[in-house]
């Protein structure tokens, strides 16, 4: 699905976000991404979802080189990739239902999009998605009246509506409590496994990564420093990496039986 060869990204202000990244993601893989703040995780996501162009190196998405992606082809590719950003990814003044239905924009015509703003189309899809994240009752509220964690779940609902082949989640559980975080990660994994989707999730919680993902990649200061099964990464190396990370930095303490609430992958009221 994705092939990166020597990919670097230097922003116009001179900041080097990524350096010589070599990465290959096959379709249907489930990968966790870990790295300290400022390591370049968000930049990597923005490149994988066709928002940013690499400064050097080649990025091939679905067999097409990114420099040859324009216009309709680019739009259709973006439609197949769903991104959950860390923050500020919803339009504040719109109602929740419009933000969630925006997941359809990739295949809606402009006329349908306009009509939906006046009279929501395919509202059932939005209701189903919101129910999966436990926010069905907030559907008619204005998005900026919700808390940060609720807004993050609305963003996840939007991706559910979009139903893409690839899900890129940039710290989707950063504003959620531990129980909710685990539920959301399980939900995303559930979706990916059932729909044969490619999933890349960036996490601050090392224990979630170690428990649920078969493959782990680690970014540090714009470089890829580890790519492989999470268990093979020594606890000493992890400690060194996350000396500043709050919360569960100790990998040994991660194993515990998930509660029945989290196990179902849905939110019980």
């Amino acid at each position: 699905m994705y092939t990166l060869q020597g990919v670097s990204k230097i922003y116009p202000n001179g900041c080097t976000a990524l350096q010589a990244i070599d990465l290959h993601l096959a379709a249907g893989e489930r990968v966790a991404l870990i790295g300290p703040s400022g390591a370049g995780k968000t930049t990597l996501f923005r490149m994988l979802n066709c928002t940013l162009r690499p400064s050097s190196g080649t990025l091939t998405i679905g067999g097409v080189e990114s420099t040859r992606l324009y216009g309709k082809r680019l739009r259709h590719l973006r439609c197949r990739i769903g991104t959950i950003y860390q923050q500020h990814n919803l339009v504040p003044r719109l109602r929740v239902m419009h933000n969630v239905l925006a997941g359809h924009l990739g295949h809606w015509s402009t006329l349908r999009a306009l009509i939906s703003l006046l009279r929501p189309l395919e509202l059932g899809t939005a209701v189903t998605a919101l129910r999966q994240v436990g926010l069905a009752e907030k559907i008619f509220q204005r998005t900026d009246h919700l808390s940060g964690g609720e807004q993050q779940r609305v963003a996840i609902a939007r991706t559910l509506v979009q139903d893409p082949e690839v899900i890129l989640a940039d710290e989707p559980v950063a504003s959620l409590d531990p129980v909710l975080s685990e539920s959301v990660v399980r939900l995303l994994l559930d979706l990916a496994t059932r729909g044969h989707k490619t999933l890349l999730v960036s996490l601050h919680s090392v224990h979630l990564a170690l428990e649920y993902f078969p493959r782990l990649i680690v970014l540090q200061q714009g470089r890829l420093v580890y790519d492989g099964p999470p268990q093979a990464l020594s606890s000493a190396a992890l400690q060194e990496l996350f000396i500043d990370t709050p919360g569960d930095a100790s990998p040994e303490a991660h194993v515990h039986a998930p509660s029945s609430v989290a196990r179902s992958g849905r939110f019980l009221p």
């Binding site: 940013l52 197949r80 950003y85 339009v91 504040p92 703003l117």
Partner: protein, 288 residues
Amino acid sequence: MPLPPSPAVAASYPEWQSSRTGRFLALLFLFAVVASWRLAEVRPLALVQAEALHNLFAFASGMFPPAHSAEFLKTVARPVMQTIQMALLGTLLAALLGIPLALLATNSLSFAGPLHDMARRSPLAWVLTRLPYTCARLLLNLLRSIPELVWALLFVRALGLGAAPGVLALAVSYGGMLGKVYADILEAVPSAPLEALQSTGASRLQLVLYGWLPQVWPNMLAYTLYRWECALRAAALMGFVGAGGIGQQIELSMRMFEYHEAVSLIAIIFALSALMEWLGDILRRSLV
């Protein structure tokens, strides 16, 4: 940040260096104010000299009591209605003209910012994205720079006397003003939600509908309502050049030294202005 606490701090943090530009500009502004004062020969004390006071008093005493005879009010009713209609129609047409021009004149829609990192890098693409923007900005500038009275004169020459040239004059000059402010409001929209929408595969027009418009329409509406109020006063003046409204009546009254009639008309404009401000407030509160 105006002044660094010490030279050592200024040397170690580059941010203090950039504030030198700010300080220089502030000094330049101060100098410009003083120079303008001297150049324009502003002498407020001239107002309180004997001759000036006498003239002012003669002017003011001629105004009261304001004309309020039924005959007079019947004569001015139609021009007053015409003024209100000119202001409304003029502002509406100005908004219709301003919106498309503003969309073209927003750089973050065409080429600036993170939304366009994947765009083509060829020189042709560079020109094609910047040309409409530059033309739109230049046009908006042109429409704004020519005062509405001059536009009115132009249209009166082309279309003859009446209210139509006044409406067109308002539409054109206010279209420039509205367009420029709309474009500035559109450019100030934070790009993060737009980037997220774009990543779902939304087209540019869909981005405008879902990303830009919901975030800017209250500001745009508020400014348009303010311009509507200004349009009323401008429409009142259009009559001075024969473009309809009560301006003609005001000019006539002033020329015949019938100041009490003039002050009645001005009082009517004031009342209308206050009414519109009140209406605008209600509209704003109910829609936002």
